[in-house]
């Protein structure tokens, strides 16, 4: 079948444009100050620079869509290698800003390779999983994929940028889709649950809960004559995990990590110190009410009460100035984007395309989950941007590339190569 050049998915592109445009409007409002120079395009202001970044993204999109789809599959390993080298190179050539060695600064331009590494890793995993002999049920392949993911994670953690590392959990979605055992998911879920429960309720209660649940399941299944030892072993493992979580929390975590968790768990109220960001962000969002205060009319936004509001906390501006209505529309837009991409991923004929599509969704979804979760106070403070909306060139370009590579792949899904 012939290539269909006009086969770009316009729904996705439309949502992308809406998100980027809305993002710029909110960056404008959030970074507007009493002494702001005139003009939307002044390069001394974040909104002026973001306008430039958006313009450059258009060129990036044109370039990405002009390259043949085959290219991305063939050169995925090379791009993965380049991104690893650029991450490693940071420790020699990179600049340290706010404690993180995450930037290449070349003249007026500064780039954040961690943002691009996500896209490269997505390509590498798609390439590996779609290999003919690869079966995710085999331990050998599981280990190799684990290594592919862990290499960039390690390099990012060393910067240190735990937030970006967290995003790589998103790869669980394509892997599960391609056949990874359900047990891995379950294990992950239980580990996370025990983790939170231990911190929230303390060791004694968690152990009591484990024993109670263990005994009740045992009693329920007693007609099947279960082996007592198996239950005791599983309970012991759970208790052991809980104890180790406590140990790690108390001895390995730094105080500011502990604080972040405690605030989300409601165990500590400190709206002046570490809780300041979350508290201010909640005040800003809450003050928006049902309909919001109107664009550039947010009093919290104007007073710059929320730190980092034009970057990681951009959603608090949305909440304050556009109210519940605007926030709900934005959340719905993201959900629609994810569902559309899921639909697109599922209609791919090639496994490479599908795995890449799922990886894309995984990455975007993790950003969405962690960022908005943090801003509305149900997730610990983790500094990662909200895709397409947050201020920042590297982020915007990386997300744009990530998305439009998939749009390009989708547009040529009918061709064989």
């Amino acid at each position: 079948m012939a290539k269909n050049k006009s086969g770009f998915d316009w729904i996705t592109i439309l949502i992308y444009l809406l998100l980027v445009g809305f993002g710029w409007a909110n960056i404008y409002s959030a970074s507007l100050g009493a002494n702001s120079p005139d003009g939307f395009l002044n390069m001394d202001t974040p909104y002026g620079r973001q306008a430039l970044f958006i313009t450059l993204s258009i060129f990036l999109i044109i370039v990405i869509l002009s390259i043949e789809a085959k290219f991305y599959q063939r050169f995925s390993s090379v791009m993965y290698a380049i991104s690893l080298i650029s991450l490693a190179g940071l420790f020699i050539f990179g600049s340290t800003i706010a404690g993180q060695t995450a930037w290449y600064v070349i003249g007026p331009v500064s780039l954040q390779p961690a943002e691009f590494a996500k896209a490269a890793t997505a390509l590498a995993i798609a390439k590996y999983v779609s290999g003919i002999q690869v079966n995710l049920k085999e331990f050998k392949h599981q280990i190799r994929i684990f290594i592919i993911i862990c290499l960039p994670v390690l390099l990012v953690m060393l910067q240190p940028d735990a937030g970006s590392a967290l995003i790589y959990f998103g790869f669980i979605f394509p892997l599960y889709r391609e056949g990874l055992h359900f047990a891995y998911l379950l294990l992950g879920f239980f580990a996370a649950f025990l983790f939170v429960a231990t911190l929230a309720f303390g060791i004694p209660w968690v152990i009591a809960g484990i024993i109670l649940i263990g005994i009740s399941i045992f009693l329920k299944n007693r007609k099947k004559r279960p082996t007592i030892l198996k239950y005791i072993f599983l309970m012991a493992v759970a208790v052991g995990f809980s104890l180790s979580v406590n140990y790690v929390f108390e001895n390995v975590f730094k105080q500011h990590h502990r604080d972040r968790f405690n605030i989300v768990l409601g165990k500590e109220v400190d709206s002046r110190g570490i809780g300041y960001n979350t508290n201010q962000s909640e005040i800003a969002i809450g003050s928006g009410g049902l309909l919001g205060k109107g664009w550039t009319e947010g009093t919290q936004t104007k007073g710059h009460f929320v730190p980092e509001q034009h970057t990681d906390y951009i959603f608090s501006t949305v909440g304050e100035e556009w109210g519940f209505l605007g926030s709900a529309v934005l959340i719905t837009l993201f959900i629609l984007l994810f569902l559309r991409l899921l639909f697109l991923a599922e209609r791919q004929r090639s496994q490479f395309n599908r795995v890449y599509g799922y990886s894309l969704i995984g990455i975007l979804f993790m950003h969405f989950l962690v960022n908005i979760g943090m801003v509305i106070g149900i997730f610990p403070t983790v500094g990662i941007p909200l895709p397409f909306l947050s201020y920042g060139g590297s982020g915007l370009w990386a997300f744009t590339a990530l998305l439009f590579i998939f749009i390009k792949l989708d547009s040529e899904r009918m061709s064989f190569f």
Binding site: A34, R177, A284, G286, S287, G289, G303, I335, F365, G373
Partner: protein, 622 residues
């Protein structure tokens, strides 16, 4: 199944986020209030309170600047408590206490630390304030009284209390509000409207400009000046006459219902309740439960009206057509009724017809008229209810509806009342059982203002206007139908002339003939009311109240007055003299009867008031 997982995760995340946002933005509105608090600071500009003028445009109340030291707890920085409390002239404990209280009220709204500094204190403080962040000086205006009387009329202003703050959005802590009197009733006109500036603050609490370019900001509006019907000179004179006495005086202009004077004794100088000395002075007067200087007897004290009430019974008798003006009744040192019961009377010629009955204040005459009124009807119940309706049409037995901050209804008994006290129908009662009403002595109670209003009604020959104080706002006359509507009594105007003539003869030939004023034709009526108190649970009679009502001139009444002097003995002894002097003062603006004036000024009743408190046996009516 494997395809479903991500769908479920994405959709449930969306739902959780929306639910959380709904909670934050729609349900939990306290976030909104906190945002208003920390991003927007509200700055108030207080306007000048309106002036108060008397009916002759003499200024009674103006303003003087005053300065409050305020604190906004959120803006506080660490400071030397000891040093600052020394500057403020309070103890360090007091200062800490005030700041703690302010924090409880609101960390973001201003609270008063030290109220009402004088100009000199302010000048000294102003230089030092800069060192103490979070404190500032709020300029307000306090009252500056041009008169040393009228305290009960004017009322006072005080810091608004928490209850009012909760009830009324306009007020915040530290605001001044009118309490009592004209200040309270016309608070909204007098206070004006404070101006508001909304200031956008940033997270370092720096001002970064007006909120929304100031579209919500307002300029302060100056309070409106008001004119009240009081004649300042007459009021001052009346208060002077009432020194060392207790009681109340009301003088009205019959043709309009305007209150010319409203005197209570003892009273105080309104300046005593201004500034920092307000609080101790107020407590002192509040605690004086014997003389009760804060109790406005002119509108609150309910006294038995005594003989002036007889004029009303004469009118009702004429209206009910049970007595003719020429009908005479004999008086045998009183009125005998029932089995050997007697209502006493003083010696005078007998028998008497209506005009001289009033002039001589004959008890027997009015007992006969009263009984005829009640006995006209088949049952005493019906009779007394008819009588009560007539009495009530004079504004007695209910609130007058004036523009005073307080008042009392007085009392007019009806059939229900007597049925209840005589346990009807178990026992029956006859009209004679209510005979004291004939002479205004029994169950009837009236406040001085009701008595004055009754007098004005007689002066008007059958109608009255609701007594009131306000006449002009910002120089423009008020139009309040409540005060301009003519209220007619149930008595035909033609019946008033004989009663007026009787009252005129009180002066020419009757109980007040020693009180005549040359050149003024006065109609009046003396009253002497028995009264009782309880000492150690026992009912003890005290010296009679001295009561007098009058209006003048008889043919074109300009003033109607009612005077109550507690324990002043007979009517013309104290009340009559005071009424005559005040009438002369108002109509002639000079006193020719200096003998009366000297007598009143030199006589005190303090000895009389001390008797029941002395814990010793005492004699009355000496």
């Amino acid at each position: 199944m494997r395809r479903l997982l991500l769908y479920i995760v994405i959709l449930s995340t969306g739902i959780i986020f929306l639910a959380r946002l709904f909670y934050l933005q729609v349900i939990n509105t306290s976030m909104f209030l906190r945002s208003q608090d920390n991003a927007i600071e509200i700055e108030y500009n207080y306007p000048q309170r309106g002036y108060i003028y008397d009916r002759n445009n003499d200024l009674m109340v103006s303003n003087q600047p005053s300065y409050d030291v305020m604190v906004i707890p959120r803006n506080l920085k660490a400071f030397d408590t000891l040093e600052f409390s020394k500057i403020l002239d309070i103890t360090p404990d007091e200062l800490v206490n005030k700041i703690d209280k302010a924090k409880i009220y609101s960390p973001l709204l201003p609270s008063v630390v030290v109220p009402q500094l004088t100009k000199t204190e302010y000048a000294y403080l102003q230089e030092k304030m800069r060192k103490y962040e979070g404190f500032y000086i709020q300029k307000r205006s306090l009252r500056d009284y041009q008169v040393d009387h009228s305290a009960n009329i004017l009322g006072f202003i005080a810091q608004v209390n928490q209850k009012t703050i909760n009830e009324n959005q306009y007020y915040i802590s530290g605001d001044l509000i009118g309490r009592r009197g004209v200040e309270a009733v016309y608070e909204e006109q007098l206070r004006g409207k404070k101006g508001v500036n909304y200031i956008q603050k940033d997270r370092f609490n720096r001002e970064i400009g007006p909120y929304k370019d100031g579209i919500y900001d307002t300029l302060p509006e100056k309070g409106k000046d008001i004119t009240i019907s009081i004649d300042s000179k007459l009021q001052g004179y009346g208060e002077k006459l009432m020194q060392n006495k207790r009681g109340g005086i009301i003088a009205l202009e019959p043709s309009s219902g305007e209150i010319l004077s409203m005197i209570t004794a003892p009273s105080y100088d309104p300046s005593d309740l201004v500034g920092r000395k307000r609080s101790p002075n107020f407590s002192k007067m509040w605690r004086d439960t014997i003389a009760r200087p804060l109790y406005d007897r002119s509108i609150l004290a309910e006294y038995p009206p005594g003989s002036p009430f007889k004029t009303l019974n004469a009118l009702i008798g004429l209206q009910e057509n049970v007595v003719d003006i020429d009908d005479t009744f004999s008086c045998n040192n009183g009125f005998h009724y029932g089995r050997g019961r007697r209502m006493g009377c003083h010696p005078h010629r007998s028998p008497l017809a209506m005009v001289s009955g009033i002039a001589k204040s004959c008890n027997a005459y009015f007992a006969n008229v009263y009984l005829r009124i009640l006995d006209k009807y088949s049952t005493p119940q019906e009779g007394i209810d008819t009588w009560k309706n007539h009495v009530q049409s004079f504004g007695i037995g209910d609130y007058l509806g004036s523009d005073l901050s307080t008042g009392r209804p007085g009392k007019v008994p009806d059939s229900e009342y007597y049925n209840s006290i005589y346990e009807y129908p178990k026992y029956r009662w006859g009209s004679a059982a209510t005979i004291s009403n004939a002479i205004g002595q029994g169950e009837v109670l009236m406040t001085p203002i009701q008595l004055a209003n009754m007098t004005a009604t007689i002066a008007n020959r059958g109608h009255y206007y609701t007594p009131h104080l306000l006449t002009h706002v910002d120089g423009k006359p008020i139009t309040n139908e409540k005060f301009t509507e003519k209220k007619n009594t149930t008595i035909d105007p033609k019946h008033f002339e004989p009663v007026v003539e009787g009252m005129h003869q009180v002066y020419t030939d009757g109980t007040a003939r020693t009180l005549q004023i040359p050149g003024i034709e006065i109609a009046g009526k003396t009253g002497t009311a028995e009264n009782f108190t309880r000492i150690d649970g026992e009912r003890v009679q005290l010296t009679d109240h001295s009561i007098f009502v009058a209006f003048a001139p008889v043919d074109d009444p300009k003033i109607a007055i009612a005077v109550f002097v507690e324990n002043g003995y007979w009517g013309s002894r104290y009340a009559g003299k005071i009424a005559s002097l005040m009438i002369e003062k108002y109509l002639k603006d000079e006193i020719t009867r200096t003998d009366l004036e000297d007598w009143i000024l030199s006589h005190s009743l303090e000895e009389e008031y001390a008797k029941p408190l002395s814990e010793e046996p005492f004699r009355i009516n000496q």
